[in-house]
Each structure stands twice: as C-alpha cells, then as structure tokens.
C-alpha cells in the first residue's frame, strides 16, 4: 500500500482495493516504526487522521470524492492548523496552538486529504539541512548519517521513506527542491503567488512559496490543483485561473527547447551530480527536446543578494515573536524591564541560526547601510530576473542541477554558515525571480540521490510538470526506495 504513488493510491481507494482508514492506519503504523529514527514528524495527529479517513471513506462511498479524498498527507509544521500545535521548528512556538487553518491546509482538507501530522523543518525555515530544528535533525532515509536537506527536510524524508505519499513544503531559497533532490523525490515550487501564503508562517514574504513533495510529477500535479488559486486573504496571491495540471500531463510538448546554463556546471558542482544531470538532459533530448546552451550571467550574485533580502524581511517578520501574546516566555522574563523581557524571550526562544539572520536583517536595513545592502540587493534581484526573462525569450525551460552535491553528512556544515548557504546556489535564482521550479530524481552520486532542476517562466507549472512527467515515464529514478523502507 505504502509504496504506491499518490495517483495510484487514489485509484486504489476509488476501486475499493482498500479503505482510507486501512491505509491511514498502515501509514501511522509505519510512522510509529520508522520515525523514532528518522525524526521526520514533529507531531503525529493520529486521532484527527483516523476521523478524517473515516469521513473520506464515507465520501468515497457516497460518490462525491475528489482525487485527493482519503489520501494521507503531511504538512510542514510551518502551516497553521486549527487546534494543533504549529511550531515552525522553534522553541518559540513549541507551545503555540494555531486558532485557524492555513489556506493550504483548508483547501487540501476540503478536498478530503487526510493529515497524518506535521513535519520537522529547519527553525522558521532557515536552513538547508534540517539541523536547525528545535526538535532535532532529520535523518536522510538513504543514509542515516546524512542530512535530508532543508528546510522542508521532514516532508522530504517522510515521502522518501514512504511514510506518506505526499507532503507540503515551503520554498524561500530552495527549501522544497534541495531536500527533494537530496532525498530522491520530486519537489515543486510554484510561481510566487500561485499558492496562498495565508496561514504559512512568514520567513521572507517576497520569496516564500508553498509547494509539494511527492514521488512523482503526476502526484505534484494532483496536490497543486487543490492548493493553488487566488485567496483574498493574501494580497500577493495571483488572481489567475488554475489549470487542470493532472489532465495536461500527457499533452504533446511540441518543440520543447531546454536552456542549460553553462555556468551551472562550473567548479563547485560534484562530478557525480554533473554526470547524472547531463545524462538526464540527454534523456530529455531523446524524448524530443532540443538542448541549447545559455548563460545566466548574474546568477553567481544570487546567494549574496538572497542573504540580504531574506534576512531583512525575516528580521521584521519575526518581530511579532516577543512573548507578549503567545509563544515562548522565559520563566525569568517577568522580573525584568521591557528590554530585558524581550531579550530573554527572544534570546532563549530562537536558535542560533535564526538569531544570526535577524541580526543580519536588522543590520542591512539600518540607516546608513540600507542603500549599500538592501537596495543594492534589490537591484541585483532585478538583474537576475532580467537574465531569466531574456533566457525565456529563446528557451521554454531552464534545466540544470538542483544542488552542487548529494546529501552531506550530519554536522558537516553546521560550523560554516557560508558553505551551508552555498548549497542553495542553483535554487535561489528562481525565488528571487518568482519563477516556478521543480527538482526531479535523475540518478545517484556515491549512492545518494541527485536532482535535476527544471525552471520555467511565470505560471508555467503545467509545462514543468509535463516535462517532468515525460522524463519520469522514461526513467525510474523516482521509483527507487531507500533500503529498509520498501
């Protein structure tokens, strides 16, 4: 049951091969068996899941099910869930029970999906290894000494280990695609604004976007159909119709031209990753795509620009966590003056990486530095957007590696933030430009999964999904299951 894709599971439930309740119990049993080691879940909501599954079975029987009715999923613990703890991987929100559902949670719930629990993540989505979580690191199912990537590491590991057929994630600089690549699954970050941010705890508002972690592109299409769409509660959500992504997967791809940025293959890219990605590009050519060399000249500036813009927004977004209305309040805070109250609550409630980024963000926004850092970074951001816009005049999709290396060892980069940040060198550009992007499994390097990244123009999710789907029909990298989790 558990190794089925989401699409196959939907068919099985509809055919009555098994019930949602049986499947849900089975998944919960597997979470119980494996998650003590993996640590992919922060909260398992068994009781809630069983209720939803029973309701889904009634709905299927009544004949008014959607393709997602009865499908177990997991939400990254960044999405607010009514009555259920939403920690954002932080001590700050360890005691926070959201009074409302995020739009993503609401829409998937309305479609009949069954929430198994909330997945582990880097604290406030700040990290590329899932090691900054207050709830501890998540292990990579392919290698328990390696990280699963981050910040949506819990969702990635849970799907890779076949604990759940699909999970939600968020991607601010690569937080869906990078863990998908490192964990051997399919990750989709839609166009900025395609999915509502309402109820998603903000890291960097102009970059944050919710998306999916699944085994296949087809599964991503099914989830995105339900999640996407305009939401009047999010002023930045796009008021554009949502295509039937899953129906468009098999449409012909007339003359698809794939642009490959030469400079993505410069030094810094692991040889095994380069080989796997090149082989995948060759496979796409065999399927009829044309390959064209392009240059994204300013992409090397994406990491520095990102590490100004994202912390700037984060420093402001995280100001609300002050211990006044909710969240962590230090036992000693009430004995202090107002500044001491804030210092204790925030000093103890936030971890080191979050504190580092708040400091960077406050710094780049302060008088005398704003122009040199924040404004300059915004200009670079525009240059990077322009590079992509120019590229898309000549190509339909930009493709290359998702990450420079396969999964690295636990603790290997925690002492060197810059090395950690460089992990996102290929993914950040799509966030800065607001473009949709995917990572699909395309091989292995040193026994660990490698991801192929596909980036498209605004609102070209259907094209990306179709390309990935075509590739997955001709390959089986996405169907590989880590040893011990089959």
């Amino acid at each position: 049951m558990h190794d089925n894709t989401l699409a196959l599971t939907a068919r099985a439930l509809r055919a009555g091969d098994y019930s949602s309740l049986e499947l849900t119990k089975h998944c919960l049993e597997r979470i119980g068996r494996f998650d003590g080691t993996l640590n992919a879940f922060v909260s398992v909501t068994a009781e809630h899941a069983l209720e939803q599954a029973a309701e889904a079975d009634r709905r299927i029987a009544a004949g008014n099910a959607t393709p997602l009715t009865g499908i177990p999923i997991a939400h990254k613990d960044i999405f607010c869930t009514a009555g259920i703890r939403t920690s954002c991987g932080s001590r700050m929100l360890d005691n926070f029970i959201a009074p409302y559902d995020a739009t993503v949670v609401e829409r998937l719930g309305a479609a009949g999906a069954v929430m198994l629990g909330k997945t582990n993540m880097d604290e406030f989505a700040m990290g590329s290894s899932n090691e900054t979580s207050y709830y501890g690191a998540v292990l990579n199912p392919w290698d328990h000494d390696a990280v699963p990537g981050g910040s949506s590491g819990g969702s990635a590991a849970a799907v890779a280990a076949r604990l759940v057929p699909g999970a939600t994630g968020t991607d601010t600089g690569g937080s869906i695609r990078q863990p998908a690549a490192l964990s051997g699954i399919t990750g989709l970050k839609p166009t900025y604004g395609r999915v509502s941010r309402y109820g998603m705890i903000a890291f960097a508002s102009s970059l944050d976007q919710a998306g999916t972690l699944t085994q296949t592109a087809e599964d991503a299409a099914l989830l995105l159909e339900a999640m996407a769409g305009f939401d009047s509660r999010d002023s930045t959500s796009l008021d554009e119709p949502v295509p039937a992504y899953s129906k468009a997967l098999d449409e012909p791809w007339a003359d698809l031209t794939i642009g490959v940025p030469e400079n993505f293959f410069d030094e810094g890219l692991d040889a095994g990753n380069a080989a796997a990605v090149n082989e995948a590009l060759g496979e796409l050519e065999k399927l009829g795509a044309r390959r064209k060399s392009i240059r994204l000249d300013n992409v090397h500036l994406s990491v520095p620009a990102y590490y100004v813009v994202a912390p700037a927004e984060a420093s402001s977004n995280l100001s609300r966590f002050d211990g006044v209305r909710y969240g962590y309040r230090s036992p000693e805070a009430m004995g202090d003056d107002l500044n001491g109250f804030y210092r204790r609550n925030r000093g103890e409630g936030f971890g080191a990486e979050v504190r580092r980024r708040i400091l960077i963000g406050a710094w780049v926004l302060s008088t005398g530095y704003y122009d040199a850092y924040y404004l300059k970074a915004q200009k670079v951001r525009q240059l990077i957007s322009n590079d992509f816009a120019k590229a898309f005049e000549a190509v339909d999709i930009v493709a290359g590696p998702t990450t420079p290396t396969p999964a690295f060892g636990l603790g290997q980069k925690t002492g060197d933030p810059v090395q950690m940040y460089l992990n996102d060198i290929y993914t950040i550009g799509a966030n800065l430009a607001g473009l949709p992007a995917m990572s699909v499994p395309c091989g292995f390097s040193g026994g660990l999964p490698v991801g192929l990244q596909l980036i498209g123009p605004h609102l070209s999710e259907a094209r990306l999904l179709r390309t990935a789907h075509r590739f997955q029909q001709a390959s089986d990298w996405h169907a590989r299951v880590p040893a011990g989790y089959g």
Partner: protein, 477 residues
C-alpha cells in the same frame, strides 16, 4: 533681537471607516478591551494584511480637497520598533511614496488669509493602547485600536505663530469632517497632532534647530504648548545657549514642555517596503470620479454664504464651521420669508445656546430647521415680537408643540389693532398722572416708562412700534 517662530504640524486623523485598515475588525470606540481585535490585529503567525479600499478613497478625497498630487503608485512600508502595544513589531505606514503630496490649504488668521503648504499625507495603522494603571505594577494591553486607519497630514514649516498653528489645525479639522473622512473627535483621540517648532532672528532665511512637541490633543493645547516652547527657545538663545534637537512632551498641568528623548536616542525604524502588500495603483478615472463627488468645501461655502446671503465674515465663519450646521442654516433660510441675517442671528444665538445647554449636536436639535423658519416668519410678519419669539422657541424646544400651536394656545399673538392698543394706552396714562406731567414738562425720556407699562399690561403682546406712536400722539396732545 526680534525672533520669529517657524512651525510645522503633523496631524494624525483617524479615518471613519467601518473596519480597520488591514483587517475586517470593527473600529467602534469604547468597546470592551480586546473585543475588536482579530488575528490580523493581534499579529498572529501566518496572517496577512489586506488593504481597506475605503481608507484609500478617503485619503484621495483629502488630497483633492487640499490641491495635492495623487500618487499613481504609492507604497506601504514597515516601520520597525518593539513595543507591547505594537503586535507585529512593526507599524505599516507609508514612507518614500505617500498616497498624496504637494498641496496646500488657505487658513484665515487675524482676518488675513495665509496659505499653508501640505508636504504629504500618508496612510498608516494605529497601534494599540498600553494601560499602566490597575494591573498591580504590570501593564495591560488593549488592541482594539491596533490597525485603526490613520491619515498623517504633514505640513510645510509655514506657520509663524501659535495662533496660525491653531488656525491651521482648526481648518484641517473642519475639512476632514466636511469630507466625512473623520469624526475629528479629539476626546477619543481621533484627531491629534505633533508640532515641530524652531525660532530664528526675524528676517533670517535659515531654519533654527527644531524640537518636536508630542501628542497635542486639543486646539488650546497646541497653541499653549507652542507659545511656551517659543518662549523657552527664545530664553535659551537670548541667554547665549543653543536649542537642542529633541522630542518634548507638553505638560498641561504644569504649563511646561519637557524633554522626552534626544536626537541620539531617536530610534532607527529600519523602514522598508512591506512585501505583504502590493503597491497601490490609482488610475486617473477614479481620481476624477472622486473629484466630481467632492462636497462644497468649507472655504467655498464661506464665500458663498457671504455673497449669497449677505452675511458678515464672522457669521459666515461660524455657520460654515461644520457641514451639518451649514446645512441646517440653509434649510432654515429655505423655509422662511425672513431675512437670511435674521436666520443667522437665531442659529448662531438662541439655537446654539440651547444646543450647548443641552449638550446636543446640531443634528440632534429639538427644533427642526423648517420649524425655526416658521418662527422667523411670525417675527417678520409682526405676528409676534422678538421677545415673545424667544418664549415660543423655548416652548418648542421643550416639546410643547409647534410654533403656531404654541402662539395660539398661549395667546401670544401680537396686539396690533389700534383700538385695543389705544384702550391700553389710555388706561396707563390715566393711572400715572405724575409721569404724564413730567413728560409734558419736557422730560420726554419717561416715554420709555409708559411703553414698559403698556407692554406689561399687554403681557408683552402689544406691538411696541405702534404703542410708541400712540403714546407720543396722546401724551403730546
């Protein structure tokens, strides 16, 4: 040395929207603490602001009424600082690109028209309230006010005296109420201001170092605080010292301003564009639509009252101070044959006095505009005297009935037929032979005595003009 003061005001006026500027919560004043604060106002994780279109329209209308340019594109920015009554840790405001800018308004001060530049007006959200009493040494937070829309109106440093600043603040106050964009209620904090004050030698063009006076919430306080501050600065300079740039607080009880924080303690607000909100785009069609729908503005109305009704500047000023008062006046004039001047006297005099005594607004008047018009008609036609009219007014005010009903029931109609009046005069002359003799001996001022006696005998109903004529004729004979 002669000094002149240079003053600029920042007025914060609360916009009269039903709901908050970025959430659907109500803005009613005086509700139970924290009963009008939704998750957005409370700054919960994951919630997002959604701009209230009504607030934008109000700001544009203000801009149009003050000859400002309406920005095609304006941007909301975050002003970052920590305070317990600021739930998000930042206030959403506008910084580099305000919604309207570059206008002016004409203000009348000491019978002279003075043009005051308006640098800009921008939209922002208000913070909540910290309550420092009744919590055993702790502070209570009420977030009902958090997210209430404010329009911050920043003037050029164009005022030269406390009186000009007061006149400007009153003029803007009248305007925002005319436009219906604010109730201007100063007790509830809906209209308050900060003043930037500096002095310089008369004739100098360079600006002196300024101080900022915070949170002046009445016209009187603004004038008083500025006067005190100007004197303080002059004392410093004359004593050979230098004015320090700082923020000062006005203490009305002690009649002084005192330092709140210095320039070096000024916070760095780390403004940046709010990524949760799209830039506000305003097309010219909307602007023209709003321009066409603007009401007659106070200055235009005042001019018209003077030319159309022949009123003095003084009367026109008072009658146009609020739109409901002006509307009442015009309604009354439209319902009477009496002169517009008589109507002005009654509205400004007896009616205003009655309203003040009862603590009522013009909209709550116990005598309607057309009813007052009827009363004026009865005076004009001579049916009742001005003095009797006051009695009738009081009776209508206390709910005894309509004007004609009361005149009829109380028998107040003026006695104008000569036969009845002559009979009354004869009685009075007969009863006062000594005074008759005095009059005839040339002491004509006793005429007043006779008029009084006749009026008394008629219970005030005798037509005084006729009584005079008859008395003169009879006494003279």
């Amino acid at each position: 040395m002669q000094f002149e003061a240079v003053i600029g005001l920042e007025i914060h006026t609360q916009l009269a929207t039903e709901s908050k500027i970025f959430s659907g919560a109500a803005t009613r004043y005086g509700a139970e603490p924290n009963s009008q604060a939704c998750l957005v106002d409370l700054g919960y994780p994951g919630v997002l602001p959604v701009l209230n279109r009504e607030a934008v329209l109000m700001a544009i209308r203000f801009g149009l009424a003050t000859h400002c340019r309406i920005a095609e594109r304006s941007v909301f920015a975050r002003k970052n600082y920590f305070y317990p009554d600021l739930p998000k840790g930042y206030q959403i405001s506008q910084y580099e690109l305000p919604i309207v800018h570059g206008g002016y308004i004409d203000v009348i001060c000491d019978d002279e028209i003075k043009r005051i530049g308006i640098t800009r007006a921008h939209l922002e959200e208000d913070a909540g309230k910290s309550l420092h009493e009744d919590f055993q040494g702790m502070s209570g937070i009420d977030l009902n006010r958090a997210g209430t829309p404010l329009l911050e109106i920043v003037s050029e440093p164009d005022m030269r005296s406390a009186a000009e600043a007061g006149a400007y603040m009153r003029t803007i106050h009248t305007l925002v109420r005319y436009l219906g964009i604010s109730d201007g209620n100063m007790q509830e904090g809906s209209y308050r201001c900060d003043a930037n004050v500096s002095i310089r030698p008369r004739g100098a063009t360079e600006l002196g170092t300024r101080t900022e006076l915070k949170n002046l919430n009445s016209f009187r306080f603004v004038e008083k605080a500025i006067e005190i501050e100007i004197d303080r600065q002059i004392d410093i300079v004359e004593g050979g010292g230098k004015v320090v740039q700082e923020t000062r607080l006005y203490d009305a009880d002690r009649g002084e301003t005192r330092s709140m924080r210095g320039k070096e303690e000024a916070e760095d607000y780390r403004y940046f564009p709010d990524p949760d909100l799209l830039p506000v785009s305003i097309d010219s069609a909307l602007v023209e639509e709003l321009r066409a729908a603007l009401p007659e503005l106070p200055a235009d109305k005042r001019e018209r009252f003077m030319s159309e009704y022949g009123l003095s500047a003084y009367d026109a000023d008072i009658l146009t101070a609020s739109r409901p008062l002006a509307d009442y006046y015009e309604d009354c004039v439209g319902h009477t044959q009496a002169t517009a001047k008589l109507a002005a006297n009654w509205v400004i005099g007896d009616l205003t006095a009655a309203l003040n005594r009862a603590g009522l607004e013009i909209g709550e008047s116990r005598i309607g505009a057309s009813e007052l018009g009827t009363l004026l008609d009865r005076i004009e036609s001579g049916a009742i005297s001005g003095k009797i009219a006051k009695e009738v007014f009081e009776a209508v005010w206390s709910g005894e009935g309509g004007v004609d009903e009361i005149i009829e029931r109380r028998g107040l109609k003026q006695i104008s037929d000569s036969a009845s009046l002559e009979a009354l005069v004869d009685e009075v002359i007969a009863a006062n032979p000594a005074q008759v003799q005095q009059y005839r001996d040339g002491k004509t001022q006793v005429l007043g005595f006779f008029v009084g006696q006749v009026m008394k005998a008629s219970q005030g109903r005798a037509n005084p003009r006729q009584v005079n004529e008859i008395l003169r004729a009879k006494l003279g004979g």
